[in-house]
Symmetry: C2
Subunit: 205 residues, 2 copies
């Protein structure tokens, strides 16, 4: 949402829009094939047909390209489970995260994007926005649990989702320890348990 609205510059329509689309597509393809360390501005320029100088002028370098790709990816919807049970929903969410990042076809792209985004301020900002949007979407499962009376009112749904998925991301991107389906389930169950105990409601002081 709001891709064209944030345009204080005099002339953002027309050719520029097409260039942007081409560049985003090329960046995603390159980062998927080569990984982040193999991602070069020259390669994106060659694949997209956009001149190298233009890429540096508009995006400043590899960082900006990744941030642009991340922003474009943030808007895409995410399938949310609805099993009628909080623990069940959280298990499906963690299982989905587990499946995506360990899949040899799907995994490299988001993995490279996340790793790349940590290296620059622009990328970090885009990544943060990306996860904030994801959490906001996924918080729905907690809100439904509140309506069912499964969770206390005032529970921070996004925080519940974070608690469930954090152990997965922690292993994937920080400690580097192996991740299996068993761990994913355990993380979901632990988050559901803590949420039911009211740990993620503000009055639980």
């Amino acid at each position: 949402m709001s891709e064209e609205s944030r345009t204080p510059s005099p002339r953002p329509g027309g050719r520029s829009a097409r260039v942007r689309t081409e560049v985003v597509t090329a960046t995603l393809a390159e980062v998927t094939e080569k990984g982040y360390d193999g991602l070069t501005v020259d390669a994106v320029a060659a694949r997209s047909g956009v001149h190298k100088a233009t890429l540096y002028r508009r995006w400043g370098g590899v960082d900006g390209l990744v941030a642009e790709a991340l922003t474009a990816s943030a808007d895409q919807p995410w399938p949310l489970p609805d099993t009628g049970d909080l623990a069940g929903d959280l298990r499906l969410i963690t299982r989905e995260v587990f499946a995506v990042f360990t899949d040899p076809d799907l995994g490299p792209t988001p993995t490279a994007l996340i790793a790349a985004a940590q290296r620059s301020d622009t990328g970090a900002t885009a990544l943060r926005a990306f996860f904030t949007a994801r959490h906001r979407q996924a918080a729905t499962v907690a809100e439904r649990a509140i309506e069912r009376g499964e969770l206390p009112a005032g529970t921070d749904g996004a925080e519940v989702v974070r608690a469930a998925t954090a152990p997965l991301y922690y292993r994937l991107f920080v400690s580097g320890e192996p991740l299996d389906a068993r761990t994913a389930e355990r993380a979901a169950d632990a988050a559901a348990l803590a949420a039911r105990a009211g740990l993620f409601a503000p009055e639980a002081d």
Copy 2:
């Protein structure tokens, strides 16, 4: 400890050992001052007095330097709390993590090291060994809780520690969302709750 023992190569003692020490010191100093993106082999060479070509020959580049520094840091002991209560111990651990990484003086070094290690296989291996050692040490608080009867026998102590600290690392290095002391406490309490419920014991199927 054990710096000279792991030497299968023909001639690792003497001058090489001194060079290694100088390089590790210089690498840590550089990465603290400039961050990872500002870390160059030339700077380490200039600061350590070791020639650039030697650094490339022995460590292969920036990745190897960071891995060496990480390995050297992994052996250092970590102060463990002992409050007589699992939740209290975990709170102090998460508070310690929170304090270290948000401190403007202490934070940059481990932050840069972790970010750097994610970019190469050698760094990732060293980082994984680092965290495995940390978890092994910190698991003591869970083992003491088992002895007190606070946790079921067979509880995976390292997993309890991971569950407590994961939300912190997740925010710091993945999502980039802000981290505060309140969140640190909540993560510790949630982990303690799940551990008491037996979620981290193998027979809890």
